[in-house]
Amino acid sequence: MKTWLICIDDTDDIGTKGTGEIAEEIVAKLISAECGAVQSKRAITESVTRHQLFVHPDIPYTSHNSAMCFQIDSALGLEQIKQICVAHLKQESAAAADPGLAILDLTSDYNQPQLIAFGQQSKVEVKTKEQAYSLATELGVDLSEHGGTGQGIIGSLAGLGLRLSGQDGRVKGQLQLGLHIDESTQVQMNVADVLANTGLQAVISVDGERLADDQVLTLRGKIKAVYCQYQFALLVAQEAGLWVNASKQQLKSY
């Protein structure tokens, strides 16, 4: 059994299936290939995280330039994993897309700071395919392109680095608390109950403070998580003396 970190980028076009959804489907296929069945509920650590990359006129992204990353424990080998990922990418990517795929064996001996640095640089500067392939070769990352210009390899490699930084990414999807909550209603739960209900690892404020288990939270609207301080966390903010789940505007910086 090994732990793998996988990232895809640039698979969609306006009006087509999103990269995040394709990533979710790949996770399900990998689990199914190993277990023979689709799990109804996955561990939070297998969640797909969305990583924002540089928005710049020289970068040919569709609408937001983000990569989708996930970690998975699997007894499958690299070739089997890659085959499943590639088959799904080819099947589901938009015709106009430039898909890239990066696969990293987290148990291998690789230069993690170098990969993290590449990810962080990719948020603020334009990177080239040559730079991405060169670094991937040096670090032992399996990096491959699957259509179009293959430009997505840059984001897929960067996404690995950003996820490894432990301080980047919004978790795809919404958290289920077992209660009906919408924009007009709110519920109060303490941190321990939120963690127990969602599988999250922490509740962290927008200022980086980790909240104690008995701290009461006021939850409303869509409950979204982020990856910060190496934890899958609920991001919260102070509002009129209450701890409330972060707004979309506050989540944007992740």
Partner: protein
């Protein structure tokens, strides 16, 4: 003055293109429209989306506004460093 009023009346009677009201928030820029109000003017983005005939929600994970009907949440917006462009015309073509 009389001449100006006459012109205004004439303009009011002219049939408006369905796109014209959107030009309060956008400037034509090639085949796209440039949003005039940047990345964080949520009120403007909501007002524009309320008037838009082809608003289409992007994947919820790409939403950056808590209010659903907002140009910031629309599939046809393409983010730029300091604002976004609308692909509305592209989408209609």
């Amino acid at each position: 003055m009389a001449m100006k009023e006459s012109l205004d009346i004439h303009n009011t009677n002219t049939e408006q293109s369905p796109e014209e009201p959107m030009l309060q928030w956008f400037t034509p820029a090639g085949t796209q429209w440039q949003f005039k109000f940047g990345c964080t003017d949520y009120a403007a983005a909501r007002e524009a989306a309320a008037q838009c005939s082809i608003f289409m929600s992007d994947d919820e994970d790409e939403h950056t506004d808590n209010v659903f009907r907002s140009c910031y949440n629309c599939m046809y917006r393409r983010w730029q460093p300091t604002s976004f462009q609308c692909y509305k015309r592209y989408a209609e073509s």
